[in-house]
């Protein structure tokens, strides 16, 4: 990398500023059983699972009080801030709702056909055999913003309180034990002044706190600093920009592309690719993802996606259609070695994207997030049943380390680094890693920081 790194110009922000003890008077604090930060797949799977487990624990339910589980969600509704591919593996939905027929799942369709293309500016060349990491047979095309709404409705039916339009702006910590979170003030002006509709935030005190904030977690990354949780590699991210289109012709397969308009020369470090997924008979989504460790200051994922749509192969798929939705989101892409050293600290657990639980080469994260949320739920109920004042949730860490999440992420641990990069690794090396379950080439490939 040449030139100037943005990281040489750090932002005016201190993690310590968003961590501190409760400040509200004791009788003004909001007491809940479990406080979950983030109404995404991880947080809402956790909320649903806690309620399911509590059905057999009347005594503990009683002790958890009026609000056994609260989900604190900054979006207007759960799902409002969620964006993903997404080809979801069904395992987590099956585990969480074993009796729910698949027809009622918030999904568009099962994947029956896959294709991967290498693009030049004019042509689309099918990659055969398809790199194994791109196989999606048996997975389900979904929208995480729909999934979020679905899981949130289920949770509410089960008795969870969804506190939407609520930002968790401070992690409440006393004697290095997490006590809950503080919600943000409302009604402040440009310079922080109190406007006529000002309402101060509140301390939300919980027996257990779960950070399921998703990518770039506000409190999560502050907690990484405060509790010294940073993993072996620096965290890194890719940026995805996605559009939903109404189209005339249904798409009959899941498509991934590599190559154009990303530039090949290694000095640009532009790694990524596109995904084009069918959404039923009349819609599809198209997105472009690129690692944020590129080197050209004028590179734009948004504008590269616009350019991609003018490719003859892609343009044909959108012909006569209409763009009906747009969004952008980062994806944690550090993988196994960027996961926090510990997933639990006294009083708190970290789940899902916040903890880098994304398998980058296979583009999977939603089901890991949900499984992690369920493991957190089991840990909470088991621990609080033994002792309502328990703060040791290390069993969660052990459950994850023994789970498929850890196994999958471990096997793919080096896939991103060789290409320096990417989802859309393609090519022989990553395929070899998939085939050999990470044993070739093995070891731990070192990563550079994004910026």
């Amino acid at each position: 990398m040449s030139g100037i790194a943005p990281s040489e110009f750090p932002p005016p922000f201190e993690s310590a500023d968003v961590i501190g003890p409760p400040t509200d008077a004791e009788d003004e604090r909001i007491e809940v059983g479990v406080a979950i930060v983030g109404g995404g797949p991880a947080g809402l799977a956790c909320a649903n699972k806690v309620m399911q487990l509590l059905e057999n624990e009347p005594e503990l339910t009683e002790k958890l009080g009026e609000v056994p589980v609260a989900v604190i969600e900054k979006g207007k509704v759960a799902g409002a801030h969620l964006l993903s591919g997404a080809n979801m593996k069904p395992s987590a939905m099956e585990e969480l709702f074993p009796d729910l027929p698949k027809e009622e799942w918030p999904v568009y369709q099962e994947v029956t056909k896959d294709a991967v293309y290498m693009l030049t500016s004019k042509a689309a060349l099918p990659l055969k055999p398809m790199p194994p990491n791109f196989k999606n047979h048996g997975n389900y095309v979904t929208s995480v913003s729909k999934l979020g709404r679905f899981l949130s409705d289920k949770a509410e039916e089960a008795g969870v309180y969804i506190l939407s339009e609520t930002a968790a702006t401070k992690l409440l910590v006393e004697d290095r034990v997490v006590k809950g979170v503080r919600s943000g003030d409302r009604g402040r002006g440009k310079d922080g002044e109190e406007l006529g509709n000002f309402e101060p935030g509140s301390d939300v005190i919980a027996k257990a706190t779960v950070l399921a904030e998703g990518t770039v977690g506000h409190l999560t990354y502050a907690a990484y600093d405060y509790f010294d949780l940073h993993g072996a590699d620096p965290m890194r991210w890719e940026l995805g920009v996605k559009e939903v289109w109404e189209v005339k012709e249904p798409l009959d397969r899941v498509i991934h592309t590599m190559g154009w308009p990303l530039r090949k020369s290694p000095r640009f470090n532009e790694f990524g690719g596109s995904f084009i997924y069918p959404m039923g008979e009349d819609k599809l989504c198209i997105g472009l993802v690129a690692g944020l460790d590129y080197t050209d200051a004028t590179f734009s994922v948004h504008d590269a996606l616009q350019l991609l749509k003018t490719h003859p192969f892609i343009k044909k798929l959108l012909d006569g259609g209409k763009r009906v939705a747009w969004g952008a989101k980062t994806i944690p892409s550090g993988g196994y070695f960027a996961m926090p050293k510990r997933l639990a600290v006294p009083g708190m657990m970290i789940a899902g994207d916040a903890a880098s639980m994304v398998n980058v080469p296979t583009l999977k994260g939603v089901h890991y997030a949900m499984h992690a949320g369920m493991y957190a739920a089991e840990t909470i109920v088991e621990s609080l049943k033994q002792d309502l004042d328990a703060v040791n949730f290390e069993a969660y860490d052990e459950k994850i380390r023994k789970s498929a999440i850890e196994k999958d992420l471990y096997e793919s641990r080096n896939m991103r680094q060789p290409f320096s990069k990417g989802f859309f690794v393609g090519g022989a090396l990553a395929s070899a890693m998939t085939v050999t379950k990470g044993n070739f080439p093995g070891g731990h490939w070192k990563q550079e920081h994004d910026s």
Binding site: P6, F13, G75, W237, T298, D303, A304, S451
Partner: protein
């Protein structure tokens, strides 16, 4: 970061197949108050390479370099932040800044992304 030529490849929006960033943000259902405190933490006077990185990277046109400074040869430029465009994608945290939280309820209203 270097001031390269990726930007020269990009095309002008035709508003049918291709769109500019502000039209995209509009479609996200973003409803952040214009008079809310700025929740995006960056240094606002930085080398042009860094400023341009943020301008180009951000899919929601949060960052802008004032036009007169863009043309000039000066090494450092100002960065103007329009935080109400932000869809909270998080990219700024990866590239030298820090996304913090705006007021609850602000940001996009994604329906099926």
């Amino acid at each position: 970061m270097d001031l390269g030529k990726a930007g020269d490849m990009y095309i002008k929006a035709d508003n049918e197949l291709t769109f500019n960033k502000l039209d995209s943000v509009f479609l996200s259902g973003n409803a952040t108050r214009d008079d809310a405190p700025n929740h995006v933490r960056i240094q606002t006077r930085v080398p042009k390479e860094v400023a341009q990185t943020w301008v180009s990277m951000c899919p929601a046109q949060v960052y802008e370099i004032p036009e007169d400074q863009l043309e000039s040869q000066q090494a450092e430029v100002d960065v103007h932040v329009t935080a109400s465009n932000c869809v909270q994608c998080g990219a700024i945290t990866a590239k030298g800044g820090r996304l913090t939280l705006p007021e609850g309820g602000d940001g996009p209203l994604y329906q099926e992304t």
